[in-house]
């Protein structure tokens, strides 16, 4: 029972950065742009958020700074792929390499390779009344509460129910038709990428501002790429993407608990560590058949 409660709490906690990243990437891709800059955007969000929090003493201001760098990162991606019409794969990978390099360069300039610095991280909060041991499940960081109670429903509503969401989907499916109907394709794609970038950066800042209170190299460790897979797993739907993030996180959290059980000693730990990735690959292979990509996926739009 305690294992189950511990596991559920861990699942929500570890899903948090994936939820921000997956929702952010969904916005970019529904607008027709594959943003492979996600890994770098999360990394820059983690670093800039931490540096700002350390400088100001306020994790909240750190979060604001992370949102800022995410908006900027989305705008750069839009400049490359929307304004210049550049190849989206190359632009995204370039953006990731550039943002990781710039973050590590700034890290060296500011901290000079000295001892690890820490801020007082955001605390765990539990707004629900105490209902015994189950309450531990709801002892979560503020960013986790915001992700599941605010960001996910709002992102879903905007994308599926608001006229702005309809515009995003229209420029991602059929930009010619959207253009003919008076929707500005560049403006809409810029906004989708910038909103997505801000969400990705918050996902990265979750590590430095809440989970750890410090910035170390390789802090994102490929979780941005996991989000790319989760968007496809979720077939570009917010809800399904979040379910995918929860599934990945459940297995990720479970394998750490299995590794230390007596009796699992003979199983290679590498296999257990690979388990969440294997499940996502398996799920992608099963659910990935006949997926309908957004109609204008990877295509720059030019009036002709």
């Amino acid at each position: 029972m305690t294992l189950l409660i511990d596991l559920l709490a861990a699942t929500l906690r570890n899903a948090t950065p994936l939820v921000y990243g997956t929702v952010g990437e969904t916005y970019a891709e529904r607008g027709g742009v594959l943003n492979l800059g996600i890994e770098g955007t999360m990394y820059a969000g983690a670093f800039v958020g931490f540096a700002a929090a350390l400088a100001t003493g306020s994790p909240l201001l750190g979060l604001v700074a992370a949102v800022g760098v995410g908006l900027l990162s989305g705008a750069v991606m839009a400049l490359l792929t929307v304004t210049f019409g550049a190849n989206q794969h190359v632009s995204g990978i370039g953006l990731t390499i550039g943002l990781i390099g710039a973050s590590e360069f700034a890290n060296r300039l500011i901290f000079r390779g000295g001892e690890l610095q820490r801020i007082e991280p955001m605390p765990l909060i539990n707004p629900l009344p105490d209902v015994g041991p189950v309450s531990a499940v709801f002892s979560q960081y503020g960013l986790t509460w915001v992700a599941f109670l605010l960001v996910v429903p709002l992102a879903w509503w905007v994308l599926q129910r608001s006229s702005f969401g309809l515009e995003i989907r229209a420029v991602g499916e059929n930009p010619e038709a959207a253009d003919a109907a008076g929707v500005s394709v560049p403006r809409t794609r810029y906004l989708a990428l910038m909103i997505g970038g801000a969400l990705m950066a918050v996902g990265g800042a979750f590590f430095t501002l809440a989970l750890l209170g410090s910035f170390t190299l390789d802090i994102i460790a490929g979780r941005g790429w996991v989000c790319i897979a989760l968007v496809i797993f979720g077939r570009w739907r917010i809800g399904r993407g979040v379910v995918g993030a929860l599934l990945f996180s459940l297995i990720y959290s479970l394998q750490f608990r299995l590794q230390i059980l007596p009796g699992f000693g003979d199983l290679p730990f590498e296999l257990l560590l690979a388990l969440p990735y294997l499940v996502v690959i398996g799920a992608l292979a099963l659910s990935g058949r006949n997926v309908a990509y957004p109609g204008a996926y990877l295509k720059p739009y030019r009036r002709s």
Binding site: T2, G101, F105, R118, S214, F256, L273
Partner: protein
Amino acid sequence: MGIRRNHDSHAGGRTSLVLVALLALVVSACGTSSPSDSGSGKVKVFGAFATQIEEPWDGVIHAALEAEKAAGRIDYTFADDIGYAGDMERVLRQTSEEEKPDIIFGDAFGNEEAVRAVAADFPDIAFVFGSGGGPAEPNFSVFDNWIHEPAYLAGMLAGGITQTNVIGVVGGIPVPEVNRIVNAFIAGAQATNPAVEVKVTFINSWFDPGAAKEAALAQVGADADVLYAERFGVIEAAQENDLVAIGNMSDQKALAPANVVTSVTWNMGPTVKYVIDQVMAGSYTSQDLKDFSMVGKGGAALAEINTDVPGGLPEGLVADVQAREAEIKAGTFRVDINEGQPPGSTIAGG
């Protein structure tokens, strides 16, 4: 993802290629520090690191060299983040030819062949590298972090402190350097607590503090109340749950002053000092510098013990640990070196 050719984006493709090239320049530029002026009569030292100096292992070597530089004994420049893709040989060769340093310090793990090949071609330069192999005549010396002795002492502390009789260890990758400190830690814990259970998790990465913290939280969920942080991320889990943590590599008390009871530390100072002295005296020879990274010569140590941690320390524990420390220093107690991979869960006597 489907691969779709895009016929109307040639110009854009070029733009982004230029961008990538520019970014690559920026990235590679951060790695190399500018060479300093020579001719000052000081020993000229170059550091060649495969990882960035923010990585704790290379960070310890870098810190010792920076200290010698601050003391005015050496001119020190370095290149880091050289990686494992063949650049190490180029960097070493170029530096040896153009800069002609007296000594090159670095880590050879993952670049053994390249480092040894360059060393053989420049017999007048002292090559002193972290390595799992042995020294080579005439100029290639090796060192490694032999911190199993303080790890044993930290294990004794952990075994005495735990009230649940469950201790957690989170390690990076089970290579010999990590295995021997984890095994020594387990042996130390069993020495003070015959009923102890030690849970060991490897995250298969040298970084990823998020995963390290989750591994530690899983151990806390399995009743661990003392955590040994071979990697970053574990002390944070102890702090969040008001438990006791043990740091690694450097004194990490500052990360969580109320929770870190001590740290297992490595100090390259004695190694660096010895090599510089030898080179200054003109008596440098290739050798295994292992002893200089052990407790006897001050290259490894248990950081100051902080008794003000959650639950406190039982009576007499610190005295027992210090007595054992004195025996190690005096050479009357040897900590076993076991480089086999420890299992995920070790129960004493089981």
